[in-house]
């Protein structure tokens, strides 16, 4: 059947084409092959005629393919005659003649160019992130200063609400996970230290590691995933529904109304959760030492007292508010960067979690160097 759609007859240096049947969407694929074949065949001929009289039906697909045929033939100034087109299709063919006139710029194929473009884009995004983060930090400081001058404008209720959500309700899962981490650290250290007969140093290992690093780090990573993502999603959907614009037009500062209470809640909650988490991890370590290592709780506790000092605890807990600040700022920046679509909300939420976890770890590294330098 597809053979009948377009037949070609060569007469000397003139090519005669006869179209027939239904030039419609259902045959578009066959038709395209035929049209391309006819164009290839007509490379050497001087003129072309196409007879459309036997076409039964024509739609946009057929009309466009006819137009493509005409354009491909007439590129190098050869003549083409379209004859016998049923008048009822004149509008449609005219419409097809208007379309695809402007060639879109082809995307650059050069690998170097593309790589350079990607690098440039990544650089721009990085700069944009830094600018927005610093800007939001500045806005936060301004909001705090305004509130210090006029404390009654502070959204205390909102902050307590968020404190409940990111602090109080996170307690069970934080306790559970840090407990398990404490268990694992103790078990692994026991297993390896025993080879050297240094069982008792397990307590040093667990105590120092948990209080200085792991307690706060694990809790911060969990909060970045749990609360940072929800901040981004909340602010993002408010941005999508123009709620943030509405606030602004009513003369309210979104940073003061929405972001400050959220970030303050995080800054209060994270140290508290880190403390609880560290205790749970020590408890887990002690349990494993007792049940798996045969070290009685009394010995564990007295050894712990010798091994750790208040310094270790201070080093750990002093990092928590800064990590909370980083998580909160990144979550808010990403939330405000959401555009109209559902997809962009998902993208920004992912970006928020990934970036805040990354920065929490970087910050932890910087603090480690700092405390080493001041000898704590």
């Amino acid at each position: 059947m597809s053979e009948a759609l377009l037949t070609t007859v060569a007469r000397g240096d003139r090519l005669e084409l006869a179209a027939a049947g239904a030039w419609t969407v259902d045959c578009a694929s066959d038709l395209e092959t035929l049209v391309d074949a006819a164009v290839a065949q007509a490379k050497s001929v001087k003129s072309v005629a196409i007879n459309m009289a036997n076409v039964e039906r024509l739609d946009t697909f057929g009309a466009w393919l006819l137009e493509r045929l005409v354009r491909d033939f007439s590129t190098d100034g050869r003549g083409i005659d379209v004859v016998g087109l049923p008048p009822r299709y004149n509008d449609l063919v005219h419409e097809a003649q208007q379309s695809n006139r402007k060639q879109p710029e082809a995307p650059s194929e050069d690998i170097v160019d593309t790589a350079a473009m990607l690098l440039r884009r990544a650089g721009r995004m990085f700069l944009r992130d830094i600018t927005l983060t610093v800007q939001l930090f500045g806005q936060l400081v301004m909001a705090i200063l305004r509130i210090a001058r006029n404390p009654r404008t502070f959204r205390f209720t909102s902050m307590v609400h968020h404190l409940d959500r990111v602090g109080w309700r996170a307690v069970p899962i934080v306790l559970l996970i840090t407990f398990l981490i404490g268990c694992i650290i103790a078990q692994q250290s026991l297993f390896h230290f025993r080879k050297f007969g240094a069982d008792v140093y397990v307590v040093d290992m667990v105590g120092i590691l948990v209080l200085r690093e792991i307690g706060v780090l694990i809790v911060a990573v969990m909060i970045a995933g749990r609360s940072g993502s929800s901040y981004t999603a909340e602010l993002g959907s408010m941005k999508m529904r123009e709620e943030i614009d509405a606030l602004q037009t009513m003369g309210l500062d979104p940073v003061e109304v929405l972001i400050l209470p959220r970030i303050l809640a995080l800054v209060i909650a994270l140290p508290a959760l880190s403390f609880l988490g560290s205790m749970a991890a020590l408890y887990g370590g002690g349990m494993v030492c007792w049940l798996y290592g045969g070290m009685s709780p009394e010995i564990f506790l007295s050894r712990l007292q010798e091994a750790i000092s208040l310094d270790h605890f201070e080093v750990g807990i002093s990092k928590a508010p800064f990590m909370a600040l980083i998580i909160g700022i990144i979550a808010s920046v990403e939330g405000l960067a959401v555009k109209g679509s559902a997809e962009s909300l998902g993208l920004q939420t992912t970006a928020s979690v990934v970036k805040s976890i990354f920065l929490v770890i970087v910050l932890d590294g910087i603090f480690a160097m700092f405390f080493a330098a001041i000898g704590k």
Partner: protein, 270 residues
């Protein structure tokens, strides 16, 4: 795709004694309506009367309790899945909010039905999609934009291009001009008229817009209390004595729309 043989003067859509119940409320009560091939039918009625419900029932998004719906002479209840798909390929739907896929660019949105149903070369798909976008009055450079970057009027145009992607015979338009400013709405009416004539479409249009009814509808059907109470052209509407129809077509706003339309016609005539 073998189109079922159908006499030319047969209605392209036949709705007979259709009843639809939503939340225990009877929305459509023994509704009967025919749509002829090649006409523009305007479907009007008060808010909440079920204009959109009938459209959604015809295209199979809402279940009906009883009655027959035939499109292209195929009874959609008795049709096999294949026959249904064949029918669905021959209609296009423009939803009220456009319903563009937000994760796809404009050109991908228009190509989506082609990709699903046809086996075309990427080059042909690009060319056809751009031709469709240009047909609905957009420039080719919107191709790589996402729906979130477009204005309301442009979204409607892209959605119309997508509805026309497979060269359907029927297009269903759900309030095509709502949310557009009067100039934009007028342009859109004109566009629908041009496309209808160029492509030989049958247009089923749910609308509130009196200007659209004056400007492009061949026939108007009025829905009230779950039934079509009157159908015909504008003269029939103006002659009708039903209180709602009277209020709608002969109220203040409608007189303004009618007068504007007549003035425009006079200008064209002179």
């Amino acid at each position: 795709m073998a189109a079922p043989a159908q006499a030319p003067n047969q209605p392209i859509i036949r709705v007979k004694d259709v009843e639809v119940v939503l939340n225990d409320r009877k929305i459509l009560n023994k509704l009967t309506l025919d749509v002829k091939r090649g006409e523009v039918l305007g479907f009007v009625g008060g808010s909440g009367q079920g204009k959109t419900v009938l459209m959604r029932t015809i295209i199979g998004l809402l279940p009906k309790v009883s009655g027959i719906i035939e499109v292209f002479g195929v009874d959609l209840d008795k049709a096999s899945e294949q026959e249904r798909h064949a029918v669905e390929r021959r209609w296009g739907v423009l939803f009220q909010q456009g319903a563009l896929f937000s994760s796809l660019t404009c050109i991908q949105n228009v190509q989506f039905p082609m990709r699903e149903y046809l086996n075309l070369s990427p080059r042909l798909m690009d060319e056809i999609a751009i031709a469709k976008l240009e047909m609905v009055g957009l420039k080719a450079d919107v191709r790589d934009k996402y729906p979130a970057e477009l204005s309301g009027g442009m979204i409607k145009r892209v959605a119309l291009a997508r509805a026309l992607a497979l060269d359907p015979e029927i297009v269903f338009l759900d309030e095509p001009t709502s949310g557009l400013d009067p100039i934009g709405a007028g342009d859109f009416d004109e566009l629908i008229r041009t496309l209808q004539q160029t492509l030989g479409l049958t247009v089923y249009m749910v609308t509130h817009d009196l200007d659209s009814l004056h400007a492009i509808c061949d026939r108007i059907a009025v829905l009230s209390d779950g039934k079509v109470i009157v159908e015909g052209n504008m003269d029939v509407m103006l002659a009708c004595d039903h209180p709602w129809v009277k209020e709608y077509f002969r109220g203040k706003r409608s007189r303004a729309a009618g007068m504007a339309h007549h003035r425009a016609n006079d200008l064209v005539a002179s």
